[in-house]
Amino acid sequence: MSLPEPGLAVDSVTGIDVSLAVAGPGARSYAFLVDWHIRLALAFAWYAFGALLYNGRASLAAPVNPTGRWFVLVALPAAAIYFLYHYVLELVMRGRTPGKRVAGVRVVARDGGPPGAGALLTRNVFRLIDCLPLCYGVGLVAVAVTREHVRIGDMAAGTLLVYERSAAPLIELRAGAALDAGGVEIVQELLARWAALEPEARGELARRVLARYAGDTAGNADGGASDHDLRQRLERLVGL
């Protein structure tokens, strides 16, 4: 599970650098697409709700001669949701947005911390350049050709998109436990990947682990311990 390249190493007073894995074009695009759908849906929902209330009937059409009330209550908030979505959410969620959360990435400053308000503003204002000529062409080319996969806005603001490390449940090695350090690591890995493995494969692996570390041959003997049972035995083995 070594760090994917490139990474950002931040110096620390302890002498041990903070290591962050930089997100690539795939994770960036994924996060952007999720965010784009969310902000579009939110802006449209506001517009539709406002238009229905304003028109007083089932019509989403804008009035021919828009009044101030239409602008202030319907059009302006919808536009604000769409255009300020990234800036406001990155500010409030300290470098994250819902899309970035889904993609497992966040924006950080070069010192590894959340970027300031000015940096986030600069980062988002430069979308005007990144989105040229269409579909974020400039931004995508910049991300593809730069070593740290940054778009122009990131270069300007001194920010990076890094992977959010998943805080997988950590199993503590207890004194007198049947498991050694290697065993803990294996069980932890197996439990973490449980859902992603085929039931037959995880059943086989679980039986082997239980046989080796718990002397538990019940699962092997009848071969019929259920998937759920096997998982529970593994969890009991590591004290979860």
């Binding site: 903070v18 602008f71 000015g118 950590l170 503590e172 803990v184």
Partner: protein
Amino acid sequence: MRARDSGAERNRALTASLLKRASLWREADERARRLAHGRSPDAADALSLADDYRLLAHDLARARLLMPDSRAREYLEAAYARAHATLHHGAWRAGAALATLLRDELPRVVAALMPYIVWSTAIFVLTVAAGFALVHRYPELIALFASPDLIASVEHGRLWTQGLLNIVPSSVLSVQILANNIVVSLFAYCAGFFFGLGTLYILGLNGLMLGAVFAFVTAHGLGAQLAAFIVPHGCVELSVMCLSGAAGAAVGEALIRPGRESRIESFRVAALTSGTLLAACALLLVGAGLIEGFVSPDPRFPAWSRVAIGVGYWLLMLALLSGRLLRRRSAPS
């Protein structure tokens, strides 16, 4: 052989002792998460983050050596990064950040960008003069700068701004104008990325258009009316045009002449510095947009009040940019 075995045995023992500390890591991580989202009511709790940081650093160094491909190391990397960010950045408060930006950073940035502000103002004034001279000498060139409707309206002795409020309500007009102005300012800044040429183009084009329209309107005897329309909002709006041009010029020069730093580093410093000025520009344009929607087209405002509003808002802008508006009062001795 025996030495290798004893080394492996030692590593296994060290790994086992390390993994027995998992609950400490979990506690440290939880504290870092909690403190990242706000203040701690307990000072001792907040202070123990420094101890957590040292503990995580120590254990991470061992984990990188003993079990580089393990989940435990992954967990420690994440917890250590989180503790680092919390310890060095703490909780973020929007009010304090905005106050610092406007009170301390903005005047510093304005002082640093003063040569660019002077140059972009000079370029803007020159292009206004050029546009004026051009259309004054060759009136038919107005077709390059103004729409046929505007030209027809002025030729019939009417400014296009007259009766504007009968067509579009003030609030709608304000929003349209301020949105348009903010986008133009942002473009003038961002276009500095094209080695300053984009900024120069936007600044020059706006100057030429303003000068050309003024010359055309003056030739039809409507110059005073246009000036009365422009004064309330224009003092700040045109100043902001020059300020965003200055921000873009700083970005452009950083790319053309990066000095000792790399081009990207120089670009980053210039963009971040001048971005602060841009935030103030956006705020000022909101005010200018409201004036342009509610005051400028309304004939009920007499000339003196228009001048008072325009000059007053401009002086307010100067006070904000120079730091006098929000300066801290010194404590009594």
